[in-house]
């Protein structure tokens, strides 16, 4: 077993854009790391702060919320709300010493398969460098998955 740390990444992807982009990445055989676990939501605005917190609580090393581009949200401004919430939770994560850099808001359109794959890779590498979620340090939760 290699000693390299394999981060567990949870990606909340909105059905209309991000999830479709992920789908496209899949169908075009554009690979992205298996570390990224996608959770499909009807709109990025459906993601609540508690969902993000629970993901980290259960051992996710990094989380991102992927929604539509500015102005394109199927539900008008769900993506704007999601962005604000992400900022709020980032501050909270900083306050408790987990680190706001482990959370990001990303936007893309349905056709941006390559972008999806690239951001998934980039984020995974970023989190790999950050190291494991400090919440797991003592509880030996390396084997805990961050499945929803």
């Amino acid at each position: 077993m290699a000693n390299t740390f394999e981060p567990v990444i949870v990606a909340f992807c909105c059905h209309y854009c991000a999830y479709t982009a992920a789908d496209m990445a899949g169908s075009r055989r554009l690979s992205y790391p298996p570390n990224v676990h996608i959770i499909r939501v009807p709109c990025s605005g459906k993601v609540d702060a508690i969902h993000i917190m629970k993901a980290f609580e259960r051992g996710a090393d990094g989380v991102y919320v992927a929604g539509c581009l500015e102005g394109d949200c199927h539900f008008k401004n769900g993506n704007v709300r999601a962005g604000r919430r992400v900022e709020y939770v980032k501050k909270l994560l900083d306050e408790i010493g987990v680190g706001g850099e482990r959370l990001e808001m990303i936007t893309m359109s349905a056709g941006m398969g390559e972008h999806f794959a690239r951001t998934a890779s980039d984020f995974t590498e970023k989190i790999r460098k950050e190291g494991p979620n400090p919440v797991k340090l003592f509880t030996g939760a390396a084997s805990r998955s961050a499945a929803a």
């Binding site: 609540d48 702060a49 917190m53 609580e57 306050e95 408790i96 919440v135 340090l137």
Partner: protein
């Protein structure tokens, strides 16, 4: 509503450090409306606290509960079944609720999770502003529905002062000059003449200055 904001995590962690099991109690009234201490915030704070302690190898046991409100003894009584199983209580209610819990459960430390702030109203979603100071002698009927005590930075009763600029308060351009608002309302209501009446010096006894206050309804207090 009474508004409040969550205290910094550092402070809360400091309170809870010596304890193993706590009761985290939210309130379904004011602090829910200003998103500081309702059911949702209880869940968030619980998760945040747990993660904060897990990093240090400590598992903090948290029982989450949200009462209808914490300022009535009947509701606080609902905590009886839970209280023996915990070392301390962290209340997300305003200061009134925190004190009520502390009064009822004398042998448990009770900590406030929020800083209670002011009596106010929603300006729009996510923004709450101070409206009332609880002076005990309401003058809103003669000031066109705008309170000079809560909303004038100098609580002038015969304002505005010489610093009113473009309808804004001199201390902060984001604060409306209360007397500007009052004057505009008076014009609309045709009450300009009453502006010229001098409002005499206020009797602050009905305010907190007369000592902590109490209201008794003889018809209700058996």
């Amino acid at each position: 509503m009474i508004t409040a904001e969550r205290k910094p995590m550092e402070e809360l962690i400091g309170y809870l450090e010596p304890h193993q099991r706590i009761l985290l109690v939210g309130c379904n009234e004011c602090v829910t409306v200003c998103a500081a201490g309702g059911r949702k915030e209880v869940g968030l704070l619980s998760s945040a606290l747990q993660m904060a302690f897990m990093k240090t190898g400590k598992v903090l046991e948290i029982k989450e509960l949200t009462l209808e409100r914490q300022c009535d003894p009947e509701y606080v009584e609902e905590l009886v079944s839970q209280i023996d199983g915990v070392d301390a209580v962290l209340s997300m209610a305003c200061g009134c609720g925190v004190q009520e819990i502390a009064r009822r459960f004398k042998n448990k430390p009770v900590f406030p999770a929020v800083n209670t702030s002011f009596m106010g109203a929603s300006e729009r979603q996510g923004v709450w502003v101070e409206r009332c100071q609880g002076c005990g002698d309401c003058v809103l009927g003669i000031t066109g529905g705008v309170c000079p005590i809560a909303r004038c930075s100098k609580r002038l009763l015969n304002g505005p002062c010489g610093g009113s600029t473009d309808g804004k308060c001199e201390i902060n351009p984001e604060i409306d000059c209360a007397w500007h608002l009052i004057w505009e309302r008076m014009k609309v209501l045709g009450m300009e003449k009453s502006y010229e009446q001098i409002m005499p010096a206020k009797d602050w006894r009905t305010n907190r200055d007369g000592g902590p206050r109490k209201i008794v309804r003889e018809d209700l207090a058996l």
